[in-house]
Symmetry: C2
Subunit: 146 residues, 2 copies
DNA sequence: TAATATTATATCAAGTTAGTAGGATTAATA
DNA sequence: TATTAATCCTACTAACTTGATATAATATTA
């Protein structure tokens, strides 16, 4: 399962993306209220996203958050990795967080490893294509009301 | 990530499958030693698999475990579900363990839900095809030694 | 009846998750 | 310059999960 932290992160980014035309930073308070996310919890998430160059933060009065990059250059893979770590179902098949399985003698001969590699690759492919741009444009389909 | 419990379960079933031609139940001790699984921990796993009709257990002297069904009728999906619960990355897209997401207002309009459904379906498909029969036959490829 | 297997229940340490609390820092504005 | 309103930072916590271990009961058979 994806953690709530991660899902909140995705929702927050989508919210900022949908409101960035207003040319002003978005407050954490606003996101928290509109997306039903505990405010203090959200603040930590937003800071984390800023530290990973997904968001830019502006401090002080009238501060808030804006996207650090165009929506076409932010995808779900990156967000999930920042928030939850490995996407792979086994340490030995993780690309970004590789670790050998303790109890395995030969990785090459491990039959289940091949299956987990398949799952990793298809999952990665789907999440890579799920950019914020695509997600927000889908959002509009048959749904003009905010 | 798949839990160790689940991975141990898969390894244990594969071990039993590879040795079932001996027409005798396989001891938990033997599996534990050969697959480097803590014995007591493994016992709990094997009991769980028996309770879910994956294994048959025989008590007493010369007891042990055998498969409850042909290897073609046991796949990774079933094992993962027994051990770890939902495969889906969000409660709202789980087929066997569905639950609405607390903070979501409209499931239909949730853009990320669609992505998680895609991931679920491809993952399910791969694990469904990964039967014990296929896994054990792959095992033999270019590797005759036990 | 002794040996050997599974079964059952309880316990536990460490780590993770989903928060909360309280204040420090920064910047615009009245 | 004082106030206000935003982000930033650190620490803490309750509940849950994971990966085991311990002890003993029960069943089978040589």
């Amino acid at each position: 399962m994806i953690s709530k932290r991660c899902k909140y992160a995705i929702k927050a980014i989508l919210y900022i993306a949908r409101h960035q035309d207003q040319k002003r930073p978005i407050f954490s308070t606003e996101i928290a209220e509109k997306e039903s996310i505990p405010k203090k919890f959200l603040e930590g998430i937003l800071r984390d996203l800023r530290n990973h160059s997904i968001l830019i933060s502006q401090r002080g009065r009238n501060g808030g958050y804006t996207l650090h990059r165009p929506t076409s250059e932010i995808n779900l893979i990156e967000i999930i990795r920042i928030m939850d770590g490995p996407i792979a179902l086994q340490p030995c098949v993780s690309l970004k967080y590789y670790a050998p399985c303790e109890e395995c003698i030969s990785e090459k001969d491990c039959v289940i490893r091949k299956v987990f590699i398949q799952v990793r690759d298809t999952t990665l492919d789907i999440f890579k294509n799920a950019t914020i741009e695509r997600l927000t444009s889908d959002y509009g389909e048959g749904n003009t009301a905010e």
